[in-house]
């Protein structure tokens, strides 16, 4: 009997005990009819080969372990960054349970969104009644300031007309005529969560900026910032606000989820907290310019804003010294204000930190995967520190993105061995890691399976992070963010050194106290 009340052991130890090993052995030997061990080892080895890689890369129809989710996830995330806003997902209900779980598992925070719960009858007759009843229920139960309506693939396939439905629902008094209910079509079979973010952001701006009777644009000195789909938005948005504070810039973060996804435990549950106010959102039309921190999260939104005669600027998840420099210079250019001395000091401190530690990073080879902008920003920072991004992979990456990555790689001698893999997935990356190994992998929690198979250490630096806690509270943007990213990379490298040298009497002559 392995269990003992004095020291209760859970699955991690329990199933390592001999009693359970016997159980597993019998099950396998008598009932599973599995393949012989040698055959499993042979195939396992084969999956690491060049031959397998070629087969793997010739896939045309099958996607395995992609680095992308579907549009509505991004749209829900974007909607939640606005004050008092309830995302209303029109379609079948299981989807919403999935988005809520996913975001909750990353941020370790409540996540609110409702579904119109369409079933077979709606598939046949359309979901208008679900919209009419649903909006009324959402409005009375959750008392939002805004309901952001979006679709799942079901509603898209049957062709439900959101705008018409919302008008219809308002005419039936589901919600007041003047109640804000922007919408976005977010079919799951087009693009990814990155696209969904863009669609919802554009939907919200369009709702307020083109509203009947809304005043014409009158330019102010204010700046808008759109963060894009960012798992570090809690830390990053707060860092941005600090930077704007130092500059003295009047800035609006459009869809600011930093407080929404970081409410205190103080005895009260807040269904809504923080977020960009609706007044700010309306006023954002008058801003001097809009800056997108993630180009691929905002192509349609920026084009819409540009059409309003507002200046736009775009970045690719700016991390590190050079990227932050560019961001600050853009702020200088747009506002005419000088870079605050405090930030210049911080810049110097980040350079100082890189200088102190570059020996551990220089020449190290990295695989980077995730959303298109993250991959660009991360690779740029790696090269800046003398590291080599080797495999850069994004399932949402397009041909345009491939070119952009190549251009970035060409800009530095450290990009020489790098290549981009737009549209590819983590099973492709697994082949690459075996046939052309790297020293470290940078990506999200799903990379832990790659780490296990290839023994290449994983550095968790993007969305989603399910198996480590609280990373999203620390910024990755700005010089402070750069420092955080540097430390996270270094911690893994130095841990890795220790693990490789910690066998007493065998490898511990390099088990150094001072590194």
């Amino acid at each position: 009997m392995p269990q003992n009340p004095e020291k209760v052991i859970d699955h991690m130890e329990l199933f390592r005990q001999p009693e359970y090993k016997d159980v597993f052995g019998r099950k396998q030997a008598e009932f599973e009819y599995g393949h012989p061990k040698e055959e499993v080892s042979r195939v396992a080895e084969w999956t690491k080969s060049e031959e397998y890689k070629a087969k793997n890369f010739s896939r045309e129809a099958l996607t395995i372990n992609p680095t992308k989710a579907c549009q509505p996830l991004g749209a829900v995330f974007a909607a939640q960054g606005f004050e008092g806003t309830m995302p209303f997902v029109h379609g079948s209900q299981g989807c919403v349970a999935y988005y809520r779980s996913h975001l909750t598992r990353h941020f370790k925070e409540p996540n609110s969104a409702v579904s119109s719960s369409m079933t077979e009858d709606a598939a046949v007759f359309g979901g208008l009644n679900n919209m009419i009843d649903g909006l009324a229920n959402t409005y009375s139960l959750y008392q939002p300031k805004m309901i952001a309506v979006l679709t799942t693939c079901m509603a898209e396939v049957i062709g439900d007309d959101l705008q018409g439905f919302i008008v219809n629902a308002k005419n039936k008094d589901s919600i007041p005529q003047d109640f804000p209910a922007p919408h976005a079509h977010t079919p799951a079979f087009v693009g990814s969560h990155v696209t969904g973010y863009d669609n919802m952001m554009k939907g919200v701006l369009n709702y307020f900026w083109d509203a009947e009777g809304s005043p014409a644009r009158e330019e102010t000195d204010s700046i808008n910032v759109i963060g894009g789909f960012d798992g570090y938005a809690v830390g990053n948005n707060r860092e941005l606000k600090r930077i704007f504070g130092l500059f003295g810039i009047d800035a609006t973060i459009l869809s600011d989820v930093s407080d929404v996804f970081d409410t205190p435990t103080d005895g009260q549950f807040r269904l809504y907290d923080g977020g960009t106010t609706l007044e700010q959102t309306k006023a954002a039309k008058n801003a001097k310019a809009t800056i997108s921190m993630q180009e691929y999260c905002t192509p349609q939104t920026l084009s819409y804003i540009k059409d309003k005669d507002q200046a736009v600027a775009k970045f690719n998840y700016p991390m590190g010294v050079g990227a932050t420099d560019e961001f600050l210079l853009k702020l200088v250019e747009l506002t005419g204000k000088p870079v605050p001395a405090e930030l210049t000091l911080e810049r110097g401190r980040l350079v100082d930190a890189i200088a102190d530690s570059h020996t551990h990073i220089h020449g190290k080879r990295f695989a980077v995967y995730g959303d298109p902008d993250f991959c660009l920003g991360m690779s740029k920072f790696l090269m800046e520190m003398g590291a080599e991004p080797v495999h850069i992979l994004s399932t949402s990456g397009s041909k345009k993105w491939d070119k952009q990555v190549q251009k970035l790689l060409d800009s530095s001698p450290f990009g020489k061995s790098g290549a981009s893999y737009g549209g590819k997935d983590l099973w492709h990356l697994r082949s690459l890691l075996f046939t052309d190994p790297v020293d470290y992998i940078i990506g999200n929690s799903y990379g832990k399976y790659l780490e296990r198979d290839t023994k290449i250490p994983l550095i968790r630096l993007t969305y989603p992070i399910f198996d480590r806690h609280h990373h999203h509270r620390y910024p990755t943007w700005g010089y402070q963010g750069g420092l955080n990213v540097l430390v996270r990379i270094l911690d893994k490298i130095l841990d890795d050194y220790d693990q490789k040298t910690n066998i007493a009497g065998e490898t511990d002559y390099s088990f150094d106290l001072i590194r």
Binding site: M1, Q3, N4, P5, V8, D10, H11, F15, E19, Y20, R26, K27, Y33, V43, A44, T47, K55, R59, E60, A61, L62, T63, P66, K68, A69, C70, G91, S92, Q93, G94, A97, Y98, T104, R105, P110, S112, V114, S117, E120, N130, G134, N137, Y139, L141, Y142, T152, C153, M154, V157, I158, P187, A188, F189, P264, T265, G267, F269, W427, Y449, D453
Partner: protein, 481 residues
């Protein structure tokens, strides 16, 4: 009924009315049928179940796809389960349920991987059957040790009218492996429950009816199966060890750590032992009708129920097994006594509110009772009437019952009834923790477990204690606030 009981019942009814007040009239009427108070007379907890969720609320329910892929088929480890349709459903259900298995992932097991046909607009317009056929070829090419494939249909598949059955038939003949098409589109039915049923039916039609059990399999009079255990945190293992200890032979596990071979050989069992009745009763009933295999529901949560279940199971067999069952119960008694001696004083009298799926809203009640705790409210995400009939056996008179509770209702009920512990899922966890309420996830065991069997009970008790008695809950109010 005593006066005190009558008063508390009236107070609970007043609370229900107050909570329902927030709804528009039509929805209020609908929701009222799903919320009730357990009475001695009611045979089914007095609530309606298994009907559509009202639109526009935060229901905690999932969909048919989640029921089939996430629960029934997904954990079969030596098959590849294609999330057929757009990328999302497979992405969100990737690795989330902790269905432990033993195998080399990507080589002879695929439980923590995500395979999808990643539908694009053109697949919606022109249909996805050709792509599906190609997906199957590529799977067979890249994963030669795969023993079978299932096709888990997402919403668009049914809407655009793809013939996945034809693809399954043709491709199965071509590659010589079973391929199972599952019409578990998310819009079907009212919750994940229909997905379980549909998945069970595909096992009937595409496994039992198409494949003969292995001829060389030697039957024994002690052959049983574990049906409806998903091996979350290793639950099926901590159950299996007990069945083996009383002298039975577990010839198949469904579906946690399960294999296609085990599914195929299940009709050779002497009796099917079913844990999650909701998700697997369909196939157990089918085997009873077609193969004359009796089935029995058991409950391995908490020592009272474990002992009762072991005795009930043993009673189906001979004296030897019955004697073994007594010996096993006696063997674990010191562990049970030790766990209760340690944790009961810390948990005695604590009130719990439950809200989960499947079997847990009733099965875990006695495990809490074993620790001296009280369940004051319970409800199911996707139960049917027969689940609520089974619940009355476990719940006390006056228990608040909420079927398909909305996030709004649940929050209000907890606020007013003020339990010492809320036990529900990830979507509910942080809502209640913000309120300063101890919480345990009862879908994933909060990444702990197992909770089944005697070994699991020790962990269950430890986890409830650590949730309720952690000092963090004394810190929620600032001293100056």
């Amino acid at each position: 009924m005593s006066l005190a009981n009558e008063e508390s019942k009236q107070a609970t009814q007043a609370l229900i009315n107050e909570v329902l007040e927030a709804y528009p009239e039509k929805s209020r009427k609908r929701r009222a049928k799903h919320i009730g108070i357990q009475t001695a007379e009611a045979k089914d907890c007095d609530v309606k179940s298994n009907v559509k969720s009202i639109p526009g609320v935060m229901t905690i329910r999932g969909c048919a796809y989640a029921g089939s892929k996430g629960v029934v088929w997904g954990p079969i480890k030596d098959m590849i389960h294609i999330s057929h349709g757009p990328v999302g459903c497979g992405y969100y259900s990737w690795s989330g349920r902790r269905n432990y298995y033993i195998g080399v992932t990507g080589v002879d097991s695929w439980g923590t991987m995500h395979f999808t046909s990643d539908f694009q607009e053109k697949d919606i317009v022109f249909g996805g059957d050709k792509k599906l056929a190609k997906v199957i070829d590529e799977i067979n090419d890249l994963f030669p040790l795969v023993n079978g494939i299932s096709i888990q249909s997402e919403c668009p598949i049914g809407l655009i009218g793809d013939d996945i059955e034809a693809v399954a038939r043709n491709k199965s003949a071509e590659i010589g492996k079973p391929i199972v098409p599952v019409r578990c589109e998310g819009f079907r039915g009212v919750s994940q429950s229909l997905g379980h049923h549909i998945a069970n039916d595909t096992i009937r039609d595409w496994v039992f009816d198409k494949i003969e059990p292995n001829a060389e399999f030697e039957k024994t009079p002690y052959d049983v199966t574990i049906i409806g255990d998903y091996n979350i945190g290793g639950d099926a293992w901590s159950s299996r060890i007990l069945l083996e200890e009383i002298g039975l032979r577990v010839i198949a596990q469904w579906s946690g750590d399960g294999t296609l071979a085990e599914l195929e050989n299940t009709p050779l069992a002497k009796v099917n032992l079913i844990h999650c009745y909701r998700s697997m009763n369909y196939i157990a009933r089918h085997m009873e009708e077609k193969f004359n295999i009796p089935w029995m529901e058991y409950n391995f949560f908490g020592p009272s129920q474990i002992a009762e279940s072991l005795r009930k199971i043993a009673a189906l067999f001979d004296d030897k097994i019955q004697a073994n069952a007594e010996a096993v119960i006696a063997k674990y008694q010191p562990l049970v006594d030790g766990v209760i001696a340690k944790y009961k004083p810390r948990l005695e009298g604590k009130k719990v509110m439950l809200y989960v799926g499947g079997l847990r809203p009733r099965h875990v009640v006695d495990a809490y009772h074993d620790l001296g705790m009280e369940v004051t409210g319970t409800g199911y995400e996707f139960a049917h009437n027969d689940d609520y009939q089974r619940t009355t056996h476990y719940t006390k008179e006056g228990t608040l019952i909420y079927d398909d509770v909305t996030a709004y209702e649940f929050e209000k009920f907890v606020e007013k009834l003020d339990p010492d512990l809320v036990a529900s899922g990830i979507k509910e966890k942080y809502v209640f923790q913000k309120m300063g309420k101890p919480f345990r996830q009862m879908h994933s065991w909060d990444y702990s477990g197992p909770y089944h069997g005697y070994d699991g009970f020790a962990i269950f008790a430890r986890d409830m204690d650590m949730a309720i008695n952690n000092p963090v809950w004394t810190l929620t109010k600032a001293p100056w606030a």
